[in-house]
Point group: C2
Chain length 438, copies 2
C-alpha cells in the first residue's frame, strides 16, 4: 500500500463542518441581502495583487503579517483587507464608475498573525463603503449607520448598540484645551478608557503632561451622559471651539438622519469615548457591540475618511464605510451558543424510497417538490429502514417523506413532520404546500 | 506631491465593473440556489493549503502551474481546483460527516497558466459532488445530471445538451475487440473525434495498430444514433461483453432516472464519444454544451469516480460530481451578448430628494421601501436636478422617486417608471407595491 499523505490544513486556517457551514452561510446571506437592500453593489477583487500596490500605504505590523511571495517575475501578496483593494479599484476604474460609488464586498483576507482563539489567518470581512468624487454628503454617514443597524436586526443575535462619535469633536475639544500637540497621544489614551478604567486613564494623561484644569475638562467631557439629544446639548454647553461645534453639528445631523432611516434609539448611542484608528478617520466613527457580550469587542466598526486612494491617485475620494469581521463574529456566536448549528442539511424535505422499485416514484416526487422551490434531498442508497431514518435523524431535516409500495401505487407520500411527529398521507403537491407553509 | 503607485492588477487576473459584477453575482446566485434545491450543502475550504497535501496526486502541468511558496516553515500553495480540497476534507473529517455526503462549493481556484482569452489565473468553479462511504448508489449519477439540467434551465442562456456516456461501455467494447492494451490510447483518440473529424481519427487509430475489422466495429460504435432509447438498443445489439453490458445497464438506468427527475429528452443525449480524463472517471461521464455555441467547449463536466481520496485514506470513497467553470462561462456569455450587463445597480428604486429640506422625507420613504424588502438607493448629494437624473440614467434603475417640497408636504413621492416613462404621485406604501409587482 502506498504511503498516505496526512489530510490536514494550515495552522490558523479554518474550515467548518456542514452544520456550522450552513449557519455561517445563513449569516453571510443575511448580511449580503441587507447590504443590497441599502443599494450597495457587489465587488469582487483579486485575492492576489502586486505587493507594491497592496503595501503602498501599509507598514509595520501589516507588512510583517502579509503573505507575500515571488511568482515568476512578480512580487505578489494575498490581500490583507478589503479597503486597500477598494482604493486601488476606485483609482484604477475612476472614469467607469458612477459616484457616489456604493459597494459591498464579502471576501476572505489573509494575515499571517499568531493564531489565537477567534483570530484566523484567513478570515471573512463584510465591508460596505460609499465613495464620493471630490465630495460626499454627510447623509451617507447615516446611510451606513442605518445599514449596520439593519444587518444586526436581521441577524437577530440579541440587542446591539452602535456607538457613534465624530472625531472633529475630539480634536476641536483638545485644541480648545490647549492640548493640540498632544491630541494624538491623549486620544489614544482616552480610547483605552473602557478597558483600563478612569483612574488608570488619569494617571496616563498626567504622565502625558495634562494639567489639573485640563483633566477636569476632560472628565466633564468623558462623563457626558443621557439620551443622544441630551449629549448633544451638553456638548454645545461645554465648548464653543469652531471645529468642535462643526463636529457636534455633523454628529447631530448623522444621528437624526439615521433615526429617520429607521435606526431605533436603543440601537444607536453617542459615545464620546469612541476614537478608532487615528490617521485614517476624520469625522464620524462607529463601533458596534452586542449587549451583554461587550467582551466580543466591536463586531462592526467604521467611519468617515477624507481620502481613500491618495497613494494611487490625485483625485480626492472621501468616503464612509463599515466592516464586519465575520469569521471572528461567527466563532464568538458559536462559542456562546447564540446560533443554531444543529441542522446539517439545507433541505426542507428528505425522501426515503423504501426500495429500488420506488425510485421512479421518488424521482417524480423530488421533481415536483424542487419545481415548487422546496429544497429536497433523496436517500437513494439501498440500506435498511433503520439506516435510512438514522440518516434523516443525523441531518436534522424537518420533513421526511416515506415512499413505500402502497404510497407509490397511490401517487402519495407518507409525510412526517420530524418536530411534531405528525404524519399524513399526501400527494407531492400537498406535501410541497405543507412544507412551504411551515 | 508624493510618488503615486500605479493602480493595476496582475496579468491573467480579473475584476469586473459593477454592471458585469451584478450580472455575474446573479448567475452565481442561481447556480447556488439550484444546488441547494437538490440538497447539496455548502462547503468552504481554505484558499491556502500545504503543498504536500494539494500535490499528493497532482503532477505534470498542475505542478508547474500552481502558486506555491514558503511561508515561515511551511511549504504552501493556493488551491488549483476544488476536488483535491474536497478529497482532503472528506478524508480528514470522515467520522463527522454523514454519507452520502452531498456538497457544493463555489470558490476561486488559482493556476499560473499562460493568460489567454477566457482563461484566468484566478477563476470561479461551481462544483457539486456526492461522496459515498464504501459504496454509492448509481441513482446519484442521475441526481447530478438532473441538478446540472436544472442549473442551465434556471440560467436561461439558451438550449443546452448534457452529453452523457459510461466509460465501462468503452472499456468493455475495446477489450471485446481485443484492443485491451490499447484502450487508453484508442479512447484518447476517440475523445478527439469531435475536434479532428472522422478521417483524422481513423488515421490516428491505424497508427496505433488498430486493424480494418476493428476499425469497422469502432465506426459502427461511434455512428450509433437516434433517440436515447434507440442508442441503448443499438448498443445491446453491438456487443455482449460483460463489462460493456454492465455499462449499458448503468447508462440506461441513469438516463431513465434523470428523465424521472425532470431532465427533458432534448437536454440529455447519450453520446458515445464523450470520454473525459482517463485515469479518474470510472463510469458515468458527462459534458454540457450550449446549442449553437459548441465552440464554448463543455460548460459543465463531470462523472463518476471509484476512489476520491486514496492519497489520504484507506477508506473507499466513491463519488459522482460535476463542475461549472464560471469565470470562463461568464466571459463567453458576455462576449456573445448573451447576458444583460446594462444595469449598474441592484436597487429597484432610487429616491431623489430635491433639496436638503427633503432629506427627512427621503429617509422615511427609504425606510418604508427597504422594510418592504425593496432594494432602495438614495441620492443624497446636493447636486442639480440634471446631475441627479444623470445618476439615475447611468445606473439604469427601474424606478425613480422624486421628493420635492409638495411631495414631502403630502407624504408622497413622484414615482417614475424609467422604462415606460409613466409617472404617478403615490405614498411610500403604494410605491413599494407598484415596484414589487413589476
Amino acid at each position: 500500500m502506498e504511503q498516505k499523505v496526512t489530510p490536514k490544513i494550515l495552522q490558523g486556517f479554518i474550515e467548518l463542518l456542514p452544520a456550522d457551514q450552513i449557519a455561517f452561510e445563513e449569516i453571510k446571506g443575511k448580511i449580503e441581502k441587507t447590504y443590497r437592500r441599502f443599494g450597495f453593489v457587489p465587488l469582487d477583487t483579486p485575492t492576489l495583487e502586486y505587493s507594491e500596490v497592496l503595501l503602498a500605504k501599509a507598514g509595520g505590523e501589516t507588512e510583517k503579517q502579509i503573505y507575500r511571495f515571488q511568482h515568476h517575475d512578480s512580487d505578489v501578496a494575498l490581500r490583507f483587507d478589503l479597503t486597500v483593494p477598494l482604493s486601488r479599484y476606485v483609482a484604477q476604474h475612476y472614469p467607469d464608475l458612477s459616484f457616489p460609488f456604493k459597494r459591498y464586498q464579502i471576501s476572505k483576507s489573509f494575515r499571517g498573525e499568531r493564531p489565537q482563539k477567534g483570530r484566523y489567518r484567513e478570515f471573512y470581512q463584510c465591508d460596505i463603503d460609499v465613495i464620493g468624487a471630490e465630495e460626499l454628503d454627510l447623509s451617507y454617514d447615516a446611510e451606513v449607520t442605518a445599514a449596520i443597524s439593519a444587518v444586526f436586526c436581521e441577524l437577530d443575535i440579541g440587542e446591539f448598540v452602535i456607538r457613534i462619535n465624530n472625531r472633529k469633536i475630539l480634536s476641536g475639544f483638545f485644541s480648545e484645551l490647549g492640548l493640540g500637540d498632544l491630541t494624538a497621544d491623549v486620544m489614544r489614551t482616552i480610547d483605552k478608557l473602557p478597558k483600563i478604567g478612569l483612574e488608570k486613564t488619569h494617571e496616563e494623561l498626567i504622565k502625558l503632561g495634562v494639567n489639573e484644569a485640563q483633566l477636569e475638562k476632560i472628565d466633564a467631557f468623558v462623563k457626558i451622559s443621557g439620551s443622544n439629544k441630551e449629549k448633544i446639548a451638553a456638548l454645545r454647553a461645554l465648548c464653543s471651539n469652531e471645529k468642535f461645534t462643526f463636529g457636534v453639528d455633523e454628529l447631530e445631523k448623522v444621528v437624526n438622519l439615521a433615526h429617520g432611516l429607521g435606526v431605533k434609539e436603543k440601537n444607536m448611542e453617542i459615545d464620546l469615548s469612541i476614537v478608532r484608528g487615528l490617521d485614517y478617520y476624520t469625522g464620524t466613527v462607529y463601533e458596534t457591540f452586542i449587549v451583554g457580550h461587550e467582551n466580543f469587542g466591536s463586531v462592526c466598526s467604521g467611519g468617515r475618511y477624507d481620502d481613500l486612494a491618495g497613494f494611487y491617485t490625485d483625485k480626492k475620494l472621501p468616503g464612509v464605510g463599515a466592516s464586519i469581521g465575520l469569521s471572528r463574529l461567527f466563532a464568538q456566536l458559536k462559542d456562546n451558543g447564540m446560533i443554531n448549528t444543529e441542522t446539517k442539511t439545507v433541505s426542507k424535505a428528505l425522501l426515503l424510497p423504501m426500495g429500488e422499485e420506488q425510485f421512479p416514484a421518488a424521482a417524480k416526487t423530488a421533481e415536483a417538490l424542487r419545481s415548487a422551490g422546496v429544497e429536497t434531498d433523496v436517500y437513494w442508497s439501498a440500506k435498511s429502514l433503520k439506516a435510512k431514518f438514522k440518516y434523516a435523524d443525523r441531518c436534522g431535516v424537518k420533513f421526511v417523506a416515506v415512499i413505500g409500495e402502497s404510497e407509490a401505487a397511490e401517487g402519495k407520500v407518507s409525510l412526517r413532520n420530524m418536530t411534531t411527529g405528525e404524519q399524513t398521507s399526501v400527494s407531492a403537491e400537498q406535501a410541497s404546500q405543507i412544507i412551504k407553509k411551515d
